[in-house]
Symmetry: D2
Subunit: 134 residues, 4 copies
């Protein structure tokens, strides 16, 4: 399966005075989504960093269609779009409890060696986990 | 002049454990940039909201080229890209003290009547201020 | 029962360059704790605000004993300490998966009428819910 | 002089749906205050971390008296309360443009060796800078 669903509730601290989720906070939600996507594949992002591989974001785009509100129980669909040797690209779709599509997003991340700061291909067993068919 | 320069310093709270500015926090920086762009034109965004016009973001994109670090004194160039009756679009370029281009971004905002929640054309005097030649 | 346990995982965005949870972010955690404490009592804080009662924080204190780290699964114990007609006071204890006590906190909140901005006693049925014996 | 004044403007991202600064965000403001207090003494906190000394917060308390609002130009007074060999304690007073006292705070920080994770006395020249009479 190429996607993973994550659920979480909007915190008060995530709202702004428009009485909706602050538009910049969706970046945090997407990050939670891809970390859980990875965990679901058997890959802990924490473990990756402990093994000197990090995944910085090189591009992010977000389209805001409808607002998310305080205390909403949201469902984030994280979809693997594309994966090459050094890059990984995700699409995101965020839904509220009424199954309304609130926000879509996309981000590209690069595998980077934390010691050199240079892009690297991740170890084969990580690639195997990412590409395994469920 | 179609652009405005804003300077600010990276706060500790804005970093993450990669020891750089958290990628989601650039949305806040861009917001500061366009609010100061507006102020420089003679338009207070706070005043706009008090007069029932808000400017929610409908799309945001960010490209991360180089990292910003704690305590860096950054310069944000906010550029009016396009403005129609109900929309306003900005480009952003973020530089560090060495004049390196760290991040570029784009966001589109829509003028919305806070009472109806519907897009509206802003009052003529706001449009006049936004379009005045300096 | 005077306390409620809430679990959540530390997000990447919540860390800072000390490689621990940023000390200011515990305020968000405590807020999640007391909202879930209320929900467990049958009171939705969202519903309270929709009915013009808000609960702003008037004091907050936090003691930091051990660090919380990225991806830690934390357990927050939210304890009702004291409740008078217009105030409500909570203690907080935050534990990691090894049952180590990381942080303790306390906050006092006041019931405020959102229209007048003045402290008020909440409606009797809210007080009844808050005080019911389980 | 034992205190330092810092000015900054409230960002939109710092508000919540009560239409005031989110109560957890004052921790960030106080941090900006003490970093500028240090800088004013000739000590760069960034430099300290580069030299393996960090200053984690071990306790924080905040009293909220009046709200700070979006776009307010705030003045933070950071006051050295006490300094021992390994600890440093600050009081904070936050004022708006009408000179109203909005918030008071206190935090205690400990000098820690980043390599060992243990409290240490900072080098003498840092102590000299911190204690110099102006």
């Amino acid at each position: 399966m190429k996607y993973h669903l994550t659920q979480f509730r909007v915190r008060y601290s995530e709202t702004d005075q428009m009485r909706v989720v602050y538009h910049g906070n969706y970046a945090q939600y997407f990050e939670v989504g891809r970390v859980e996507w990875l965990r679901n594949k058997g890959v802990s992002y924490k473990w990756m960093e402990e093994n000197n591989i990090m995944l910085p974001v090189v591009s992010l785009s977000i389209n805001y269609k409808k607002s998310a509100f305080y205390d909403d129980q949201l469902t984030l669909k994280t979809i693997l779009k594309k994966q090459s040797t050094v890059k990984i690209e995700f699409d995101y779709e965020l839904y509220n409890e009424q199954q309304e599509l609130l926000t879509t997003g996309n981000s590209i991340l690069v595998f980077v060696n934390m010691k050199t700061g240079k892009p690297i291909a991740p170890p084969q067993y990580i690639l195997d986990l990412l590409n395994k068919i469920e």
